[in-house]
Each structure stands twice: as C-alpha cells, then as structure tokens.
C-alpha cells in the first residue's frame, strides 16, 4: 500500500501518485500486475474514491497504468522505463545543485563522499529509500 500524510500540504492525489510510482519502481506493483482497486485504495487509506480515481487517471495519462474496464487497472509493461526516462530529466537539476554547493565552498571531496555513501546505502537496503 501507500502511506498518505493528511497533514502534508501536498495534495492527497499527488501523494497517491508518488506512492504508486514508487511501488512500481520497488517491484511491489511490477509491470503487468493488477493495481489495487479504487475501492481498496479508498477503504484502506480512508480517502475519497473520487480522489483515488483522479490519481489513477493521471497515472494512465502518463502511460504508467492501463485501465481495462471491468477488470481493473494494470501496470503498463513500459512503466519502469518511463519512470527512468523521467528521472533522467532531473539530472540537470542535480548539476545545478552541485554547482551551487561548489560555489559555496563545499569541498569536491566532501561531495563525492556523500554521493558514494548514498549509493552504497541504497545498494545495501535496496528499497529505494525515502525521498
């Protein structure tokens, strides 16, 4: 399932989208698998079914899930590839951050260490961590 923080300023439907995307990447909802139904999401998370529907429609618009009337909603076969492609677009932003940090006098070595440590920790618990 997905965790929803009702006190977060982030809208519930966005939290649900993020949660489902993360679960796709973690292999909890692997490509080709059936997503929990609107009813299940609504009931278990205690959120409005129309909100759930809105999140799933958005995921479908992004090509990550395919809804099959009567059968439910499936994770599309290329969902992981799509998410990877999107993540790659965030690399330039990281470049900007690195430049800012270097400009502020952070040592290159310190930065490299942080990156190496993060990758090491990620590979060890391999659950994708939290963002």
């Amino acid at each position: 399932m997905v965790l929803i923080d009702k006190l977060s300023p982030k809208p519930v439907y966005e939290q649900l989208i993020d949660g489902i995307e993360k679960n796709i990447l973690l292999g909890i909802y692997p490509p080709g698998s059936l997503l929990p139904s609107v009813r299940e999401f609504s009931h278990i998370l205690g959120i409005n079914p129309n909100t759930v529907q809105k999140s799933i429609s958005e995921l479908a618009a992004r090509g990550l899930v395919i809804s099959s009337p009567g059968n439910g909603c499936f994770v599309s076969e290329n969902a992981v590839a799509l998410l990877k492609e999107r993540a790659r677009k965030r690399l330039p932003a990281l470049e900007g951050t690195v430049r800012e940090l270097l400009l502020s006098g952070i040592e290159a070595e310190e930065l490299e260490q942080l990156v190496r440590k993060t990758i090491k920790n990620f590979n060890e618990d391999s659950n994708g961590g939290t963002v």
Binding site: K6, P9, P11, V12, Y13, V38, R39, S42, H43, G46, I47, N48, P49, N50, T51, K54
Partner: protein, 300 residues
Amino acid sequence: MIRIEHVTKAFETYKQPITALDDVSITIPDGSIFGLVGSNGAGKSTLFRLLAGVYKPDKGELFLDDEKIFNNPRAKEHILFIPDDFYYLSNGSLDKMAKLYRSFYKSFDTDRYEDLKKKLDLDGKASLSSLSKGTRRRAIIALGLCAMPKVLLLDETFDGLDPMMRGAVRNLLYADVLERRSTILIATHSIRELEDTCDRMAMIHKGKVLLDSETDGATEGYVKIQFARSAPYDSTLFEDLSPLRFTQSGSVCTFMAKGDKTDLEVRLSSLDPMLLEIVPMNLEEVFLCKMEELGYTAAL
C-alpha cells in the same frame, strides 16, 4: 446532477429583511462529495433547506436531474437531509424511526439497516433521547444511508463523533458514492475535515459564493510571503499586490497575496530584500483571505 441557478432567499426580521442567499449558482455532478464551508450565518443551512425542498426560493430555481425540487415529491424522495438539530419522535427508538423513514422513502433498504446497526454498534430498541450526542448522530447517519437517497445532505456530519466512528462513517460514505454514485453534500466549519473528505467545495459568505472548485486546486494562486529589507518601508511598498493580512515587525513583514509564485519572486526581488520566502497557503488561510477581502474580520 444538482443545479442551483441564481437562487436568492431573504427572510423578514423585526428590523429589516435579511438576504440569506444572494444570486447563488452551483452545479454539483453525480458521485461527488461536495463540501460547503462558510462563516457563521453565511447561508449554508438555508441552502440545505432549499435543496431539501423545505424552503421555496424567492428567485431562481433548484433542480435535481432537471426536476424542480420545491413541492415536487418525485425529486424529494431522492433527497435526504440530516440537519444539525435532527427531529426524532419523542421517546422514539431507532427502529421506530426506521419505520417512519420506510414510509417516506420507497427505496429504504431493510437488510442494509440491520447490517449497519451491527457494524456501527447501534441498539435499535433504545430511545433516541437516551443516547449520547455522538451515538445519536451515528444512528441518524445510518438511517439516512439506508434510505438510499441519490442526494444526502449532511449538516455538521462529524460533529460529536469519536475518531474511530469518524473513520467508519467516512468509509461508509465513500463506499456509497462508489457503489451507487450518490452525491453527498457536507456543510461544515471544519476546513480540515473538508480537505480530507470532499473532492469539490464551495465557500460561502454572507449569502454569496466566494469560491467553487475542486478541493485540490482551491489554493492555487494564493501565497504567503515573508519579506525583509534594511531600508525602511511599510505596507504601501506592496500596494500593487493588494496584500492581505499584512503584519510587520521591525524589518520583517509577512502578508498574503494572489499571484503566481515565480512572477511574485521576480517582482519582490527587485525591492532589494534581505529575506524573501514565498510559500503556498492552505485552504483555511485562503478562506480567511477571501473573507478579509470582503471586509469580514474578527478583531482580537
């Protein structure tokens, strides 16, 4: 679908007539959970009584699926209103009330009634007046759901319910919307409650609709700003932004404004700030701002 079209309703008082609703138009699609928030005396309950067909509008008209609501049993049998001060037969039990409801609502589902009594831990034989406020509230909501109305009007629904029952009742409403595409209208003072539960909402104040939108997008375009600079200044510096809720302490001020975040960032950066923070507002803050714009303040 519910259509409220240019509805005006005024009441005579000993001083002068009060316009409770002034040219209100709202459309509510089937299957939505619609929240209605407003200041005290904004006209929420008046709107509900009009929707329930209790009042006749002075001007304009209200429709359920293209049927006029007032004086029309064909529309009214699909609408159920649970007011804040619910009427129940003196010494009447829940079972007796269910019998009464069954006579009004042809679609009343007896199996569901028996099932909900168990699920919500209700005693059908106990006199309603002997129950606590929260238990009575729970009983009445169960009764409303069993009548299987297309439209359920709930005034201060969750008032008096403990967190556990709040969750249970909310899930019952969600299931009802999902299975039957019923439409639920909730009037409340608790914006938190509304943000959690409703997918669409309207804010009303002094009989007028201030905002009618999806709950998720309602705060778009409203920001809170913190600003500081060494050169002296006062609120007139931001006059072109029409700042609301402006407070200043020394060189630091905070205020709220309408507008796009990046756009405001550019404009305010030109004023030579030492500190500039722009964050989105929550729904409650938007509501307060909207009311202040209209000159409604509680000076404390």
